[in-house]
Amino acid sequence: MSETVVRPVPDEHEGSHVTADGQVTHPQPADYRSARSLPTDPHWFKRAVFYEVLVRAFNDSTADGCGDLRGLTAKLDYLSWLGVDCLWLPPFYASPLRDGGYDISDFYQVLPEFGTVEDFVLLLDEAHKRGIRVITDLVMNHTSEAHPWFQESRRNPDGEYSDYYVWSDADERYPEARIIFVDTEESNWTYDPVRRQFYWHRFFSHQPDLNYDNPRVQEEMLSVLRFWLDLGIDGFRLDAVPYLFERDDTNCENLPETHAFLRSVRKVVEDEYPGRVLLAEANQWPTDVVEYFGDPDVGGDECHMAFHFPLMPRIFMAVRRESRFPISEIMQQTPAIPSGCQWGIFLRNHDELTLEMVTDDERDYMYGEYAKDPRMRANIGIRRRLAPLLDNDRNQLELFTAMLLSLPGSPILYYGDEIGMGDNIWLGDRDAVRTPMQWTPDRNAGFSQANPGRLYLPPIMDAIYGYQTINVESQLNSSASLLHWTRRMIEVRKRHPAFALGDFHDLGGSNPSVLSYLREYKGHADPADEDSPEIHDVVLCVNNLSRFPQPIELNLRQWEGWVPVELSGLVPFPPVGELPYLLTLPGHGFFWFQISARDEGT
């Protein structure tokens, strides 16, 4: 971006403050202007294409080397052009940034280098103007150790905040709870020399877990929620949600108390902010994750959405093995979800490609195939972007994206993957996949006007993925680019409600290297509107997971006499007959068909 915004110095009254007598005070929503709102739509998230964008990495409006909210706001036209319906912003709250912002030191303040609460409201307002919604992470499980609640809690064991965290005289309680960051942490307990007790933390030791058995903590978090919802935010991704409570003789995950609290959060949203969503981040098996949707009899009464974690590594595994079974297996193990809910699916995000939800054998396999260099691994996962994972093979990039856009769930794109950005495995931790967005072939990839040395991370500069080769500007100028292709596919997806709302039926078929499925939707064009027309939309997706051309015979007997119409060019294929339907696909090729009632061609 060329425009450089001069931002006023952040208001010193912004954010939370500690009074002289040790009270932590928080600002009120009324202190700020609110964004314009979009029409209430209880199902928008089921049809939305999400886009995860790191504020830091997207666009720098202040030439300080770090992306910010105003920079992102200036790029909304691009995201709107791409077809994005909802932005997911990882945390932008005040934080010492020892865990990418997931270590929040003040829920009521924007990280100063990203801007101010006003900047955020401006982003919301401009996004809503374009019909784009915005959700962000809310880390409920823990805070940064720098949070005033923790500082007061450790300083004054008898004070108001003494029970905001989980303290213990010993470090032996809850031994069944696994350690998540095995690379860095040895225990879930850490000794605090100030309070002379151990505190509980499921993640890093600088992120003490909040004590949800304390009703005041629950109230505090609801206030945080209301604050941002009042400003106009469209929902939250609830980070690390399975770990809120602790109980003896359990692994301290997915406890009933956690679900009860989520129900109370949902009730606040339902009663006071209809149309806003809660998205659960629960890296668990689908059978456990569905618990986070809540009671199916009422269409779900906890989270509206949850990530489908195990699907993603299996998509990679299936293509490398040239076998549909890794995907068919996990889809078969995925239970039905309540009517008011939706999965969130993704290929890559800001974290490593997590391999917690695969067997040890499968993990070894994934390491062997996709992370040959040990530097590509982080925790239990692989820190690489989509394009390098696929050897920058355009056919595979298209195949993977086609599956992302057609498997059940709302797709979540990761910034930069739409142009095939690369990664830098020489950067620490998970920074490999968090480098600046590549806008142009100009200095700093067009991301920032700052001196290149000031950038928060260097842009990718290698010969294949470097910004001089891979950037938005050049791909905008070529209609054959991955960017244009991605945009067209998003467009096609949006024309067919079956992709978003349809049932999923795995067709199997004679060839194990081909994954075929039907998505079928019968109902109102707008499920929330009884007056909208009744439609019957059927889409057939056929994916060749093999590098070689493959034939497939599909049992489409149910659709005898119907005509498959290929969706990118609307070419009618021969009608379905009595015999199995024969298709041939090029290596890593795929087809999307609408199963159309009549032969509309001649």
Binding site: F325, E329, M331, P512, S546, N555, R557, Q558, L579
Partner: protein
């Protein structure tokens, strides 16, 4: 049954081919009616069947499952005719005895549909006309295929036919059906994605082991067979016979052969990666397949009993292998250079003393007989080797015969892409063997982990079974697919060289 696996066997008959068949059959049909000289009012199945004798004599040899293709058909005589559906479209169950110019007659069962007007889509299975009725292969008719499930669902008895649903089985109804006519001895009807009916075409006295073993495994709660839903059996001229079986259809499954060969193809496409380094590695699947086969063997032993090979048993085994070898050398001279070494191997079996179990086994196990589903490996087609007489197929045998069958199949999967490879690429040959070795080992590991018998602890016997199978394959290939005989011949050469 072909050794290893024969993909061509699965080829679908094209509609064009069927059209030709139908035209060809037309002539004799009309001739027959005139010769018969009878008018309308043919109301009983017997009369209808007799009226079709001549067209059937032309139609039968065109059928994939007709085993007497190389023999001269003398007469086709209906020996049992039962009306199954008595309103149009009619369905008759007919058993015909086919007498040849030479040799023993065969009996085949037919399901004959009759309509006054044959719809266009059934023209390709027209057999002939009897008075004002047109006879056709009834399984192709959705309406009649559904009638079969209705009869099974109601536990009907029609003439000598008993439709017997399994206890507690849910028989699906009202599904569209399609015929899968690719087997050499059966015809199957698949009901959408819920059930498959398998009609045993050539009838022999006695219970078909496929029904018997599937029932035993269902009762044992095995997760490695498709659930048996029912059978059609009955009396035929004083003997009990199995006519058909209905099982749950393994939707979303793929054959082990297709998966294994996809893996080999992947390996061949990599420049210089080893079998354990390529993405398409199959060893994990092979190991789980070994576990599945072991579990099936254990369930069969538990439900149907097992004993151990004794001295006499080993001697008999040895004699059988030597006998088959002698026959084979007579047919395929290329075997001669290995005959002495093979004979020595087989003779040594008589002297084995290991305690090795014998029990009911699959009998014809290879990668085309196993299906990968999203939850497990399934084993299908428990009929045993169809070339053997039924009585022999019911005899207990060592589970190592099944293991050997699967090991041979891995060899086939690895080598079949090289058939006809004029470049004689040693690099590919080396990699094929690397793949075979890796997956054979993985299969054995999986099997040993879940079985009571570790195949590797009976190495000499396993080897003999494998060589015995390979000898059989050489004869089969020399007769049916001469280009493929290099696969078993090379295996024999390798094994003999490694053994000496």
């Amino acid at each position: 049954m072909p050794p290893g696996y024969d993909p061509s066997r699965r080829r679908r008959t094209t509609p064009a081919a069927r059209g030709r068949d139908a035209r060809h059959e037309d002539g004799p049909g009309h001739t027959a009616r005139r010769a018969d000289g009878r008018g309308g009012g043919m109301t009983t199945p017997d009369v209808r069947a007799r009226g079709l004798a001549a067209p059937l004599a032309g139609w039968l040899p065109e059928q994939r499952w007709f085993a007497g293709k190389h023999r001269t058909v003398r007469t086709v005589t209906p020996v049992s005719c039962v009306a199954l559906v008595e309103t149009e479209p009619l369905l008759d169950h007919v058993v015909v005895e086919v007498a040849y110019a030479a040799g023993a007659p065969d009996r085949y069962q037919l399901l004959l549909g009759y309509r006054r007007q044959l719809p266009e889509k059934l023209q390709h299975v027209r057999i002939g006309a009897v008075d004002d009725l047109v006879a056709y292969a009834g399984l192709w008719d959705d309406v009649l295929a559904e009638e079969l499930l209705r009869l099974l669902d109601s536990g009907a008895v029609r003439g000598g036919l008993r439709f017997r649903p399994e206890a507690g089985a849910a028989i699906p109804r009202g599904e569209p059906s399609r015929v899968v006519d690719v087997e050499q001895s059966n015809t199957s009807v698949v009901y959408d994605e819920s059930a498959i009916l398998k009609l045993f075409r050539r009838l022999t006295p006695g219970r078909n082991p496929d029904v018997e073993l599937n029932r035993a495994l269902r009762r044992a709660g095995s997760e490695h067979v498709a659930e048996l839903l029912g059978e059609v059996e009955g009396e035929l001229l004083g003997d009990t016979v199995s006519y058909a079986m209905v099982s749950a259809y393994a939707a979303n499954s793929a054959e082990g052969w297709a998966m294994a060969t996809a893996s080999v193809r992947d390996l061949f496409a990599e420049g210089d990666l080893r079998a354990d380094e390529v993405g398409g590695d199959f060893a994990g699947e092979a190991e789980r397949l070994g576990e599945a086969i072991a579990a099936v063997h254990a369930d069969l032993a538990d439900t149907l009993g097992s004993t151990e090979l004794d001295r006499a048993g080993y001697a008999e085994l040895s004699t059988g292998m030597i006998g088959r070898l002698s026959d084979a050398v007579g047919v395929v001279p290329e075997l001669a250079p290995h005959a002495d070494a093979l004979r020595t191997e087989f003779a040594a079996v008589a002297g084995l003393t290991d305690a090795c179990p014998v029990q009911r086994i699959h009998g014809d196990l290879h990668l085309g007989q196993v299906l990968r589903t999203p939850t497990s490996w399934l084993v299908i087609d428990f009929e045993g080797e169809p070339v053997k007489p039924l009585a022999e197929r019911l005899l207990p045998d060592s589970p190592l015969r099944d293991v050997a069958g699967m090991l041979r199949s891995f060899d086939y999967a690895a080598e079949h892409l090289l058939v006809g490879d004029t470049a004689d690429d040693h690099q590919l040959e080396f990699r094929a063997q690397e793949w075979a070795a890796r997956n054979r080992k993985a299969f054995c590991t999986g099997y040993a982990g879940a079985a009571r018998v570790d195949p590797m602890r009976h190495a000499a016997l396993l080897r003999a079974y494998e060589l015995d199978k390979a000898v059989y394959e050489v004869v089969y290939e020399a007769t049916h697919r001469p280009a493929w005989r290099s696969i078993p011949l090379r295996s024999i050469a390798r094994m003999v060289a490694a053994g000496s």
